[in-house]
């Protein structure tokens, strides 16, 4: 166990610890230290991806989907993290959240935060590098295709993400 001084920005709030176990997994930190239990735990070995959060290394930097169940704090120190609790702004649901509701995308809902955060990262990527409309399904599969959901059959997650991608200006280009 190697103690580190920790500084994280989570959902626009600063969290710091003078000394904390650097091997502690980010998932444990979120759930046990700061009570952000919206980020779920399932396999604990970075396979199912229910524990995904969005991470930027600096303000304005690319958002990367990070699996918190295996990510030690020492490797993520200083990062800017968005969890499912931080998706909504000013009392308004994020369009992805609204679309997940509208399309009845989830059932038990345990996988929903992971899908949301991976899709959130996809929107960020498309904002920086728009893709043709015809490439949207493949991009969604690439973003969330390895996420495990035992209830939903995936159809409605993909449908909701697709709707948001196509409805958000600047993410896609017309097919040639």
């Amino acid at each position: 166990m190697a103690a580190i001084a920790l500084n994280l920005t989570i959902n626009d709030e600063r969290f710091s610890r003078d000394s904390i176990d650097g091997d502690m997994r980010l998932n444990d930190f979120l759930c046990e230290e700061v009570n952000l239990t919206g980020t779920k735990f399932c396999c604990g070995i970075a396979v199912c991806r229910v524990c995904t959060v969005a991470v930027a290394q600096a303000p304005g930097a690319d958002l990367q989907p990070i699996r918190t169940c295996t990510m030690p704090l020492s490797k993520i120190n200083g990062a800017i993290i968005t969890t499912v609790e931080g998706l909504s702004k000013s009392g308004q649901l994020h369009p992805l959240q609204a679309a997940f509701l509208k399309h009845f995308s989830f059932q038990c809902g345990y996988s929903a935060p992971g899908f949301l955060m991976a899709a959130y990262c996809l929107l960020d990527r498309l904002r920086r590098s728009p893709i043709p409309n015809s490439a949207v399904d493949a991009a969604i599969e690439n973003a969330v295709g390895k996420h495990v959901c035992r209830c939903s059959g995936y159809v409605r997650y993909h449908r909701a993400i697709r709707e948001v991608v196509l409805a958000t200006p600047g993410l896609t280009t017309a097919d040639r």
Partner: protein, 899 residues
């Protein structure tokens, strides 16, 4: 689980009032998870008008990451619980062939040693009881000095003060195989069978009627003495004789389905606290069986010689993060209770996925020996099905699963003679349970594979062969109950004429290559929904502000029952519920019911069973009925009288049939519409009924009876009713009159099972080099009856499709000591279906319209997986010409037979 946006104060108020309900607040609950989450507080947005939802009632909490699952909560989140708690580590047996000689915790570094160790010796010393009904066989912790009874059996519970020590110890114990001490090798027990076995003999008499079947003269056991059994034995012998003669073409094959894990996403978790000052055990758990869990926890401390005095058990029912039967009578509740009883503070058990694989409830593996005799007209004359389900080291619900595997053992076909024998064999494997499909999964795979096989052998179109032998409307199923599900014939017909099926030969030529072969397969199935004896409970309450709360013991593990219950009052009350409280049992004690299989006709509190576990198939088909009836009681016995009072003397003759809801107002010709809030105020003013609590029981039909409230009498399909008036907390029991009851015997007469039908067509491509089977297109057919909310139904179909794909192609779990019990299994080795496996953009749904003669909603959440495995397997056979009679059809297996 109440999904409302209460303040913490309201939560505390509910808890202080002794409510065992679990109120989930998104606001200020514990450590304020997110200030922004608190701003998203829009109750009612989910509701889309009476009987319709814009989204799930529990959706907002789930999509914003609020605390809703058991794993989300810590003791600090719970009202009045001490904040400090123990982390409980339950150790499980990875072996059964050696003596367990206790733990050697001295091997652990001092900082990794537990504060408290609970072993079987503690339970014996304290005379801890056994719940023979729900969790029989005892030995909840394996005693030292003998081998564990089954793999995954708990050995001890270790309590840790600190999370880091808990994690460290778990890691060390797993890597150091000697902390769990083992002694001499011990012989494995001889195989035995749980009783009763299921035997269904069916034969047609000379007059053409059924001569023997389960529902004519009761269950038969041809191997046992007795006149009826001897007659049944004659049929069995006749079947053997016919199969040996030359009059029939006889086909005989054996099929196998494997043990599998329900793999719900949230590993089982829970909190418990033994509040010694109040002698109350409090547990928070995501369970499908809250009633059973409470009873089992009580039973632990019930013996007079037990020094742990617990007067009451409160269960806070969290939303389960998936269930699929794996949380139905899971023993986790007992470990929570025991750990709390031996701790001076609250405890948490939070299994990781390795532990869940090692010790969680599994699906039965099975072996099905099928023999069919077909005559020269391609009609099935005989079906013989001998099934063995391998049932692990505790009985759990295995005999019921075997019963259903038997009842579904002849598929959707009629036969002149049938001999079905289904047994639950005790093994030393993990505990198995009521996992999604419940016996029908194994029977469906075997029968639908066999039918395909026979059709191909006879050079017939497999769906034409099915159609020729299919049960028709009004036909009796094998048990002689007239329960052929509506839409079955239409499903077969639609599948037969679907282009994917009709063009399969042409498409195979067109789409197959040197490296890849294309094939199409189909299956038609049916499955029961409910249990054949379903008890459901619901309470509908109208608040003084007109807000409606529904409370039920039904649990929403993702299938949408919370939303369905919230929609249910729409029909009678003109608006959906505002609040839904699920997983409740204790409040229903107000009905003072006596549950017994022995009839007590003069006792108005008697019912065959008080409660059932939640089954995904029983939501719309069963539980919703209770909420609809409770709402109807309020409408007819309270709202209409209130309206008459408001409208005045001119409305004296107005009855329920004269009024209707329009835009949330109660209307009648020539009278001013009344807003719901005004009616609610009148209910309180006049002390009319403001809540109706009902119990209903179904077995082929609902028990019904007359009830009188304030001189208004009506007949409802319920067997118990209590009301509250105005603000009064007191429940007024309304005795039933003229009830149409059941006896245990009469429940068998019509056979209480209800059935629904489904089908699937699947197109696959099989890669010659890798052996991988890839779905390319599919059709999912279903006869759901009336549809409550299409989005929920579609979601169940889509989820069932993916579940079926995983079971067919991916999910492989070695059952023995070198397999899943070793504690090293996780999702890197146990693969479930991902989106790319399921052809998610290319599966067409076909819904058969509700049958006019029986439009009731059918429970379909389990059924929808059943046709998928045989359809895929049949498609693989079409593609490569090899028949797989054992699941899963992995790429390795394909490569081994086709390269």
């Amino acid at each position: 689980m109440q999904v409302v946006w209460h303040t913490r104060r309201e939560f505390l108020k509910g808890a202080a009032a002794g409510s065992a309900s679990f109120l989930v607040s998104t606001l200020d609950f514990g450590l304020s998870p997110s200030p922004r989450a608190a701003e998203i507080n829009r109750p009612g947005e989910w509701s889309g008008g009476p009987g319709q939802a814009f989204h799930r009632i529990d959706g907002l909490a789930k999509v914003t990451g609020q605390k809703i699952f058991a794993r989300d909560f810590r003791p600090v989140d719970m009202p009045d619980w001490p904040g400090k708690y123990h982390h409980a580590l339950v150790l499980h047996a990875p072996f059964v062939d050696r003596i367990f000689e206790g733990l050697d915790l001295d091997q652990l570094p001092e900082e990794l040693r537990p504060s408290v160790v609970i072993t079987a010796a503690d339970l014996a010393r304290d005379n801890i009881g056994i719940d023979q009904e729900n969790y029989p066989a005892g030995d909840y912790l394996a005693p030292s000095g003998k081998p564990p009874s089954y793999l995954g059996q708990a050995l001890a519970i270790l309590l840790y003060d600190e999370l880091a020590a808990y994690h460290g110890a778990k890691k060390q114990i797993l890597s150091n195989g000697t902390v769990i001490r083992t002694g001499q090798r011990a012989p494995l027990p001889e195989p035995s069978y749980y009783k009763p076995e299921t035997s269904i003999v069916h034969g047609i008499s000379h007059s053409g009627g059924e001569s023997f079947a389960q529902t004519i003269r009761g269950t038969v056991h041809p191997s046992q003495p007795g006149a009826e059994n001897e007659k049944a034995l004659e049929i069995v012998n006749l079947i053997s004789k016919k199969l040996k003669s030359n009059e029939l073409d006889v086909y005989q094959h054996s099929y196998e389905t494997p043990i599998s894990d329900p793999m719900f996403m949230e590993p089982e978790s829970g909190l418990a606290w033994f509040d010694r000052s109040a002698k109350t055990l409090r547990m928070l758990i995501g369970t499908q069986s809250p009633g059973h869990d409470i009873e089992a926890a009580r039973a632990l401390f019930a013996p007079k010689a037990c020094p742990i005095e617990i007067d009451d058990v409160h269960l806070y029912a969290a939303y389960p993060g998936g269930g699929f039967g794996g949380r139905d009578r899971s023993i986790l509740c007992l470990f929570l209770a025991l750990a709390a009883a031996y701790s001076d503070r609250p405890i948490q058990i939070a299994r990781d996925r390795f532990e869940q694989f090692q010790s969680g409830i599994k699906r039965h593996s099975s072996k099905i020996e099928l023999t069919l005799g077909v005559d020269s007209d391609d009609l099935i004359d005989i079906i013989r099905n001998h099934t063995v389900l391998y049932c692990g080291g505790r009985r759990n619900v295995s005999t019921y699963v075997a019963e259903m595997a038997g009842a579904m053992g002849t598929g959707v076909y009629r036969a002149s003679y049938a001999d079905v024998w289904s047994r639950a064999q005790q093994t030393t494997a993990q505990v198995v349970g009521s996992v999604r499909g419940f016996g029908s999964f194994s029977a469906g795979f075997a029968v639908e594979s066999m039918i395909d096989e026979i059709a191909l052998a006879r050079r017939l179109d497999p769906l034409e062969f099915r159609k020729k032998n299919l049960l028709q409307p009004g036909h009796s199923i094998i048990t002689a109950a007239p329960r052929t599900p509506p839409g079955l014939d239409e499903i077969c017909e639609r599948a037969l004429h679907h282009p994917l099926w009709q063009n399969r030969v042409k498409d195979q030529r067109r789409l197959s290559t040197q490296h890849e072969r294309y094939g199409v397969g189909a299956a038609v199935v049916m499955k029961n929904f409910g249990s054949g004896g379903d008890s459901v409970m619901s309470q509908v309450r109208i608040g003084p502000d007109g807000r409606i709360t529904v409370t039920t013991n039904n649990v929403d593990m993702g299938q949408g029952s919370a939303t369905v219950h919230a929609l249910a009052p729409g029909k009678a009350l003109g608006r959906n519920a505002d609040h839904i409280v699920t997983g409740q049992t204790e409040v229903f004690h107000a009905l003072k019911l006596v549950g017994s299989t022995k009839m007590q006709p003069d006792n108005p509190r008697w019912t065959p069973t008080v409660w059932n576990s939640t089954k995904a198939t029983a939501g719309v088909g069963r539980w919703m009925h209770a909420t609809e009836e409770a709402a109807d009681v309020l409408f007819k016995a309270a709202i209409v009288p209130a309206a008459r009072a408001i409208w005045g003397a001119a409305a004296d003759k107005i009855s329920a049939s004269d009024v209707y809801w329009s835009e949330g107002r109660l209307s009648a010709p020539n009278f001013q519409p009344i807003p719901f809030s005004v009616i609610a105020a009148e209910l309180y003013e006049k002390k009319l009924a403001t809540s109706a609590m009902v119990h209903a029981f179904f077995s082929g039909r609902w028990i019904e009876a007359d009830y009188t409230i304030d001189e208004f009498t009506d007949r409802w399909k319920i067997d118990a009713l209590a009301i509250q008036r105005g603000h009064s907390p007191t429940y007024e029991l309304i005795d039933r009159k003229n009830p149409a009851l059941f006896t245990a015997e009469s429940m068998l007469e019509p056979n209480g099972q209800s059935l629904a039908a489904a089908g699937a067509i699947v197109a696959v491509k099989v890669d010659r080099k890798t052996g991988a089977v890839r779905l390319v297109e599919g059709v999912h057919l279903l006869a759901p009856g009336s549809i409550v909310q299409r989005d929920l139904l579609d979601g169940q179909m889509e989820g069932g499709w993916a579940f079926g794909v995983g079971l067919t192609l991916l999910e492989e779990l070695p059952a023995g000591a070198n397999g899943v019990a070793d504690g090293t299994w996780n999702l890197d080795r146990y693969h479930v279906a991902l989106s790319g496996d399921c052809a998610i953009h290319d599966v067409e749904k076909i819904l058969i319209p509700a049958d006019a003669s029986d439009p009731s909603p059918r429970g379909i959440a389990e059924l929808v997986i059943v046709p998928v495995p045989p359809a895929i397997s049949n498609a693989v056979t079409h593609a490569i010409g090899h028949r797989f009679r054992s699941l899963p059809i992995t790429s390795d297996k394909v490569k081994a037979v086709w390269s």
